[in-house]
């Protein structure tokens, strides 16, 4: 079984790769440079891919309109919200328009070319920032589009952690011995995680609830 996997270098995608390896998939990873300010995560993606000895394609996407997102435009402010507010479901300024659709489409193109059985992505709709392209309904509709719009047709869209809490994701990662020490989640691309952005807060809460120490802190 062959799978194409989106590997950002974050905690979620690292866990997804660990999951796919554990399930016996022959894994091919893709990571994206879309101008994100935490381009530092690509270093993590490379390290994680090396850890699992999987090939990694790095794809550069240069879409000027992505500057709308505070995750791309450094002149915009990244929100610093309380943990409870993050989960309230409004879409924050860090949302990158259509990002997961574009990522998934590129993985599907790759899968259709090499006749892969699955495309694996790491969205999460529980402990997340309210991004619309992390919801199960989106991936369900996309699966139908793949069925009709590709040569292979039967390429599964698998989102292993979409309904897990951050705590559950971390517990799964630990069980699978995923190299979380190589992962990166902070929206700022500094040397150390800021501890203040949505991504850092969700990660910290997850480790706390899982009763595990975050190896990158």
């Amino acid at each position: 079984m062959k799978a194409i996997i989106s590997l950002s270098g974050g905690l979620d995608s690292t866990t997804c790769l660990a999951w796919a390896v554990d399930r016996g998939y022959d894994c091919y990873c893709v990571s994206f440079d879309y101008g994100q300010r935490h381009i530092r995560e690509m270093k993590s993606a490379r390290a994680v891919a090396r850890y699992y000895k999987t090939p990694l394609y790095e794809i550069k996407l240069n879409f000027p309109w992505l500057k709308k997102s505070s995750l791309v435009d450094k002149n915009k402010k990244i929100p610093n919200k309380k943990y409870e507010e993050i989960l309230k479901g409004s879409i924050p300024s860090t949302y990158v328009p259509g990002r997961n659709l574009v990522f998934a489409s590129i993985l599907i193109s790759y899968a259709d070319a090499v006749k892969a059985d699955a495309v694996i992505l790491g969205p999460n709709a529980i402990d997340y920032s309210g991004y619309p392209d992390c919801r199960p309904s989106f991936y369900k509709a996309l699966s139908k589009a793949v069925k009709y719009g590709t040569e292979k047709g039967d390429i599964k869209i698998i989102t292993p952690i979409i309904n897990m809490s951050k705590k559950e994701i971390i517990k799964l990662a630990v069980k699978l011995k995923a190299p979380l020490h190589l992962s990166w989640s902070c929206y700022f691309g500094g040397k150390k995680p800021c501890g203040k952005c949505d991504s850092c807060k969700l990660r910290a809460k997850g480790f706390e609830e899982a009763g595990v120490k975050d190896p990158i802190l």
Copy 2:
């Protein structure tokens, strides 16, 4: 009303832009360099966009796996089939894996960023080469994915010519005074259309049936 339009520089997308302008859409065009051997079509896209005074983004996509297609890999042979065989529905080697899904996703990302009302694409499922990503079922499924997976949600996916014959497309183009003299369809990027590839044959048959002389010949 704002629309994002895929403009390849071919006959179909040129007609779609003419259609959108006629319908009163404020049009923003995107063309793609994905390593196609008929990169010459981008010159046509630029000329058509200039003709309509619409902005045009040129997006470069560098996906190594697209070399699977004879439309990208110059070492592969482009089929030279009879007109009747082209329509038989098997997928030819010129199929570019997931191309229209990737193109559409990028247009949707753009539309979501600028709050556009519609994304307009020019696939055709009548006089076509049997590409799966030209079928109405694919665009219907994609519309659902857009509804759930974007911030704006109500971005229409419009495919104005999907159920038209080439003859009908050309008649529509003539009626709308679309600049077909600037368009390009041949899969080979030469100075003159080859007259032998699927794309040339479908175009020639269309002009013949419409009783119109092809202005680029």
